[in-house]
Symmetry: C2
DNA sequence: GTAGATAATCTACCGCTGTTTATCATTGGT
DNA sequence: ACCAATGATAAACAGCGGTAGATTATCTAC
């Protein structure tokens, strides 16, 4: 029979769905949608020079990003300011409140993840997370 | 600052998308859609006693499964036969051709996966795949 | 045998997603 | 000053996904 394991693609897809489902109530407790959270965490690494770049970084279509930014800006979690150097561009940056909320969400998410990985040995957990992160990086760049 | 790694959910989602994209041309070469392949591999482990169960195992809605089964049955890759014990149920089973095609696809997919994991050390690869498979199992059952 | 439940099927519907098109402001080069 | 290109935005569109109700065939319980 050879290997009885699942296909990587199927395993990733199931796990993605399961994690999203597990994280959803946590985010809802913070009044944050999944895509809101994706935007917040992306901006945590620094302001986005243009909305198009932000959309690409978040992995979302740029036209779909706009209502999300509208909502977050209305809540004072981020700000869109015209780039003085090229006023066509809107620089998107977190406010202090946005940074706080992002950190708070991240912490809660990490707790969910910890429980999810609780059955693994410390060694397994470390290499699994490290490899996963590395592969994700490769996929994001290349 | 704590951890700088990605969220697990995001990593899983990106990797799932990347794998599906990488596998797509391979499947297309075999004249098989992604969902066709999911059905074939699920049936490889044994016939499905009902279509509802098959839909759940594949992770697809039962009404959406029907056209897929129609197509695969038309190609003589599987067969729907009324269960003699309960003729409401259709037992779905692979034909010999279906088994062959599934095996052929699986082999090609495994090659794609091997390349995807090529940069990992053997130890990393083994524990990563093992853990991934275990977690996927947990998620499927619970 | 009649009533209620279940399986497969079909159709209609709603929601999410990406794409396309048009519009407007701004920029840079000529 | 003019014109092509770019960024942000909005509206219309098509594709895909699940859900719900109706239909038909079948089973189980009474």
């Amino acid at each position: 029979m050879g290997e009885q394991r699942h296909d990587l693609g199927a395993a990733f897809a199931w796990l993605a769905r399961a994690m999203i489902k597990a994280e959803e109530p946590v985010l809802r407790a913070h009044d944050v949608e999944m895509w809101d959270y994706a935007v917040l965490t992306t901006l945590e690494r620094g302001p986005a020079p243009t909305q198009s770049e932000l959309a690409a970084a978040v992995g979302r279509d740029k036209t779909r990003l706009i209502p999300i930014l509208d909502r977050l800006e209305a809540r004072d979690l981020l700000r869109r300011t015209p780039d003085p150097a090229d006023r066509r561009n809107r620089v998107v940056a977190l406010t202090a409140a946005g940074r706080e909320l992002a950190a708070s969400c991240r912490e809660a998410i990490r707790a969910v993840e910890a429980e999810f990985l609780a059955d693994l040995s410390p060694g397994e957990r470390d290499t699994f997370v490290a490899v996963l992160d590395r592969l994700a990086d490769e996929v994001r760049e290349g």
